[in-house]
């Protein structure tokens, strides 16, 4: 009885304030890296700090980052979508096809988004409907979607998109702020709110940490995952519109290898590849870092492939170094 009568012990909500939590977070480390890269770049090249150059640099990452936001949610939920780059290609091919039939910009945009969404639905159905592992399913659909592009286009290309369409990839909303950059910012905000401020986002975290317990807790696991794959398809469609408009042409090899860059961006942003943790601000910072590094190397005339070595090393280092550090400190 004495136990029951004892006043319940008070448990504080949190032990640390927001500032302390931020200092310890992955995002703060990324912020330091971003500042460093920015500083190094501005010393390395006199052209770096020019607003128009910086604005140009953003095209390096905006399209990939759009996909990365949706991918971040998929990875937090414990799944992965390797077909995103292939969706970009198929959506671009669909738009090219529609253009050849004589449709104008509004229809092309609808076709691009629709094709992306449809691909997302296919992935979602295979993963949630048939209960197949997403890593293999999306390796399959990656081959299928890009394969369809190849089947339609072969070694040809669609060119000659209407002037009004190219605005999505080349237009500016105001001064140096391109449409893509504004879209990137808006989507970052949107996805940040979805993941961090809504019930849906909480469900994504719960599923990523323990799918079974989430199901028992009344989370509609299948439905949430289906929506995530749909959203990823839609974002790939959107990125496809921007990219196609920017390049002005569609080849079946468009956006080749982007899935790896997008996953790298997400993981660099602190999202655990095993699911269950990560944040949108982290992904935004990772996108900025990757974009600035690419741009900096470009200014220094370093070829793109060397840049990719750097990204590969970065990916392994950002995940491996904290582990090494923890090991050394534990000794």
């Amino acid at each position: 009885m004495s136990d029951a009568q004892m006043a319940a012990r008070h448990i504080p909500d949190r032990l640390e304030g927001p500032a302390a939590r931020f200092v310890k977070s992955w995002e703060s480390l990324l912020l330091v890296v971003a500042v460093l890269v920015f500083t190094v770049n501005s010393f390395a090249s006199p052209y770096f700090l020019d607003p128009w150059n910086l604005s140009d640099a953003t095209f390096n990452f905006t399209e990939k980052a759009m996909i990365a936001f949706a991918m971040a949610l998929v990875i937090v939920s414990g799944e992965i979508d390797l077909s995103v780059a292939a969706i970009v290609a198929l959506a671009s091919t669909a738009m090219g096809y529609a253009m050849q039939l004589g449709f104008d910009t509004p229809v092309l945009v609808a076709v691009g988004l629709g094709a992306g969404l449809a691909c997302g639905v296919v992935n979602g159905l295979l993963v949630t409907g048939l209960g197949l592992p997403s890593i293999v399913v999306t390796i399959g659909t990656m081959s299928l979607f890009r394969g369809l592009s190849f089947l339609i286009l072969g070694d040809k290309a669609f060119t000659g998109y209407p002037e009004s369409f190219s605005w999505f990839g080349q237009g500016y909303v105001w001064w140096v702020f391109s449409f893509e950059l504004c879209l990137f910012a808006a989507l970052a905000l949107l996805y940040g709110v979805i993941l961090h401020k809504t019930n849906f986002g909480r469900a994504v975290y719960a599923i990523g940490n323990n799918q079974t317990a989430a199901l028992f807790s009344g989370i509609r696991v299948g439905r949430v995952k289906f929506v995530l794959f749909m959203m990823t398809g839609l974002m790939a469609g959107l990125a496809s519109i921007c990219l196609t408009a920017r390049l002005g042409s569609t080849r079946p090899s468009i956006a080749l290898g982007w899935e790896l860059e997008v996953v790298t961006m997400v993981v660099l942003g602190g999202v655990s590849i095993l699911g269950g943790s990560g944040s949108i601000p982290g992904v935004v910072l990772a996108a900025l870092i990757m974009g600035m590094v690419t741009f900096g190397f470009g200014l220094l005339n370093v070829p793109g492939i060397v840049m990719s070595i750097f990204i590969g090393l970065l990916l392994i280092a950002v995940i491996g170094l904290p582990i090494v550090y923890r090991r050394v400190r534990a000794r």
Binding site: V137, L151, G154, T264, I305, V306, G312
Partner: protein
């Protein structure tokens, strides 16, 4: 239940036979022995690579860097030949097998010692290894005329009616059959993927076993690197780009579970052959070669669905009368 495992491979044999049969109905030339030998020869490299990937996938890991490893080793083989045309080819092959194993060991060490998820590690090394080729060559190609004749002719030589390339893949299959079925290491691959936790208790070092699987896959990728470059008589940064997915596709089609612990050498070989038959049949039946990618994508999806059905656990049967059914 052994039957079921056999059945999974039988199913694939039947699927391949049906596929070949349907093609033969309209294009009898396809089943000419000569052509079938060609198809096999053409698939040999994929078979060798799928055997390595199988070992890795069995341990619950994945190696996305195999094609990049192949490309780097192939380029190094070419560079060695360029610098020392007189060096015996077996020495070159041995060198790139060791190099491949070393590159695989890097993957394995990162997975073993740092606990980095395999997909992240090999995603990273995939770009690094391919980038290394550029650093080595500055983007230059090695063309046929720069390679010594011995270098180019080894895989094409014919022994007892089969090209050496085919013989090499058959030898690799035989070696892997023995390794997987009759050596403690081979059984450890299954144990580590089937139940890593329990493997520790049976005295198996999970990390070390995975490391060795990566070394094995790397060595096979190194060998394939030489074979690829000498067969196609060209080496450049982008050879075999995207081929890592074909390798994984062959394994998945062959019934190797991506969750680890389930798979077999015949499965991997048949999976590779299935893709090889499709690839070689397309031009024959007058379908655009550009359709190959879409078809293999569809095949992967079907194969995963079929595998998942076979692996699905039956629920607990409690009612007596239900047991009888």
């Amino acid at each position: 239940m052994k039957m079921l495992l056999k059945n999974r491979e039988m199913l694939l044999v039947v699927a391949i036979l049906v596929l070949v049969g349907v093609i033969a109905l309209r294009f009898p030339g396809f089943v000419a022995l000569r052509n079938l030998v060609n198809v096999y020869n053409d698939t040999s490299i994929l078979i060798i690579l799928a055997l390595g990937q199988m070992a890795v996938i069995l341990t619950r890991c994945i190696d996305l860097s195999m094609a990049a490893n192949l490309a780097l080793c192939g380029m190094v083989a070419g560079l060695i030949n360029l610098a020392m045309p007189g060096l015996p080819i077996p020495a070159v092959v041995l060198a790139v097998i060791l190099l491949g194993a070393f590159l695989g060991a890097i993957n394995g060490l990162l997975v073993w010692k740092l606990d980095i998820p395999p997909i992240v590690v090999t995603l990273g090394t995939l770009t690094i290894y391919r980038g290394m080729i550029f650093l080595l060559t500055n983007g230059a190609w090695i063309n046929a005329h720069q390679m010594s004749d011995a270098f180019k002719s080894l895989p094409r030589g014919v022994v007892a009616g089969l090209p050496v390339l085919s013989w090499l893949s058959l030898i690799m299959i035989a070696i892997m059959l023995v390794v997987m079925k009759r050596t403690p290491l081979g059984r450890a691959f299954f144990a580590v993927g089937g139940n890593p936790h329990a493997a520790v208790y049976t005295g198996i070092d999970v990390g070390r076993t995975r490391f060795l699987a990566y070394c094995l896959a790397g060595a096979l990728a190194g060998l394939s690197g030489y074979l690829w470059v000498s067969r196609y008589a060209v080496a450049y940064v982008d050879i075999a780009i995207g081929f890592e997915l074909d390798i994984i596709a062959a394994c998945v089609i062959g019934g190797i579970s991506i969750a680890g612990g389930i798979g077999s050498v015949p499965g991997a070989v048949l999976g590779a052959l299935f893709l090889g038959v499709i690839k070689n049949a397309l031009p024959v039946v007058n379908i655009s070669p550009f359709a190959q990618m879409a078809i293999s994508g569809a095949v992967i999806i079907v194969a995963v669905a079929v595998n998942a059905r076979a692996e699905r656990r039956k629920g607990r049967v409690i009612l007596k009368k239900a047991e009888a059914i």
